[in-house]
Symmetry: C2
Subunit: 296 residues, 2 copies
């Protein structure tokens, strides 16, 4: 997906909110804001929005001289959702359709996104989880998703954010674990999950975990490691969590199941879904021929 | 008032919305967006927000090669509110306290601000007008305002937007007309009222109308004409409409009555009022010693 003009004011707002999460120093905040404005003024709008997310995070890291300024926030997100885990696990297990319940919870978890929802409160997370379980709207592609998983030999599960991955774990527990590889980001970027988060939430003990070798808050194949791209090519089913993965992979020429919450007007227009909706969407193309090589 | 960091993403969003009101050409829209980003990156944040509003409007004018791109929008705003005028005039005249009713309508009119509310619908304007008449909340400074007007010899009424000035006319009709001077902007900027709008809405036939010699969507005294500054110094009562006039005059060392709708979180914090509230506020200082000279 390209960057739309209305993404740009949002980037600038996100840059300011993101730095304010990790620094009270108004000089640092102003520095990040000015650098984000200058970067946005020169940005190539043909690339997808997460490219700018990566740039903004680089600016924040450089000005703070901290490689992972959101480390504490990620730790807190994991801890908060891990506390809910036993009860949610029991609700999945006792539900009429544990697979569907787990899918709904995994999508609900996508609300924990500090790129967009910087002022997210714990009560809001709980509300979104409750709504996800109660919502009467059907997930349109659920049966197709279930069937694809049953038939698959290699399932690649692309994670999104810390905290959210605890709810991904509930879905991982419903999948044929030996066939699943869980993919985290290669480098810290905003609150996106890295290997540390997968370890802390017990996912490394559950399924194979790899990182994608990239620090984009999404999945731009050209920036990922060779190993990841090989896995991407070989997988029968790809599950991609979150808006960032959707924005970077929705034009990629292969079948992908996208699970995310609709969090901005551009995605509303692109998907035809309403703001806040839970989406289980399949990319329409399935004649995938492998990853384009990065231009030299 | 200085520019707060959170004003900046809003400027960028305003620039995009403003150009989209007057051009469907995506190349022009992108050009305005990039120029606004570059300008914001270098902006002096110690100046008030309307300075950036003026810069953005200059960018739009230059790229469109049109000195008054909002001319049609202003004409339509005037026409829409003029159609309501006879009924509203009757409601003022038949109300228990015509002065208060007129004050409420003049404040309600401040919703017609295409700098902030670019997607304003006519139904919303009507709703705000109805709410203004129904609202049970008292206007705290109303009696003081009434008294100041009764005692004044020279009243300066600083207008804000086209369309809105039709509702200002209702208040002008409640004032001692021979003592009132109505002030419009010197040059077109967004949908701010200029002399043409005062003529179209019958205000030039009602009271003396001057312009301030400036093209800022607010009142920065140093950018105004000598004649306006003399009037500003001589007036007993100054009535300033709108957020732009508030943002540029609230630190000026003299007594001013500000009438506006609260339209952004920064003004919420600054005034202690809630978003959408109608405000009749008096600046706290009254030992005004004249306009600072502009630095050479």
């Amino acid at each position: 997906m390209k960057t739309f003009l209305e993404c740009v004011p949002c980037f600038v707002g996100q840059a300011l909110k993101a730095v304010r999460l990790v620094s009270d120093d108004e000089k640092i905040q102003e520095g990040v804001l000015r650098a984000a404005l200058a970067a946005a003024a020169k940005m190539d709008f043909s690339v997808s929005p997460p490219v700018m997310g990566q740039q903004i995070h680089r600016i924040i890291r450089d000005l703070l001289e901290n490689e992972d300024p959101y480390f504490d926030i990620k730790q807190r997100s994991n801890a908060v959702i891990l506390e809910l885990y036993p009860e949610l696990k029991a609700r999945v297990d006792s539900s009429k359709d544990p697979f569907e319940t787990a899918v709904r919870l995994a999508i609900a978890g996508n609300i924990i996104d500090y790129a967009v929802n910087t002022d997210l409160e714990e009560t809001e997370i709980l509300q979104v989880i409750e709504d996800a379980l109660k919502t009467p709207s059907p997930l349109l592609r659920l049966d197709e998703f279930r069937r694809a998983i049953t038939q698959a030999n290699k399932i690649l599960y692309l994670a999104d954010n810390a905290g959210e991955i605890v709810l991904d774990r509930l879905l991982l527990e419903q999948l044929p674990r030996e066939k699943v590889t869980f993919v985290v980001r290669g480098f810290a970027v905003i609150n996106d999950a890295t290997r540390t988060d997968a370890q802390e939430t017990g996912i490394t003990e559950l399924v194979e975990v790899i990182d994608n070798g990239s620090g984009v808050p999404g999945t731009i194949l050209e920036t990922c490691s060779d190993d990841f791209r090989r896995r991407f090519n070989e997988a029968d089913v790809i599950i991609a969590k979150g808006q960032g993965n959707y924005e970077t992979l929705n034009d990629v020429d292969r079948e992908i199941f996208f699970l995310f919450k609709v969090k901005c007007p551009v995605i509303v227009r692109d998907t035809g879904e309403e703001l806040g909706n839970m989406v289980l969407q399949k990319s329409s193309v399935s004649n995938y021929k492998g990853v384009r090589e990065m231009p030299a």
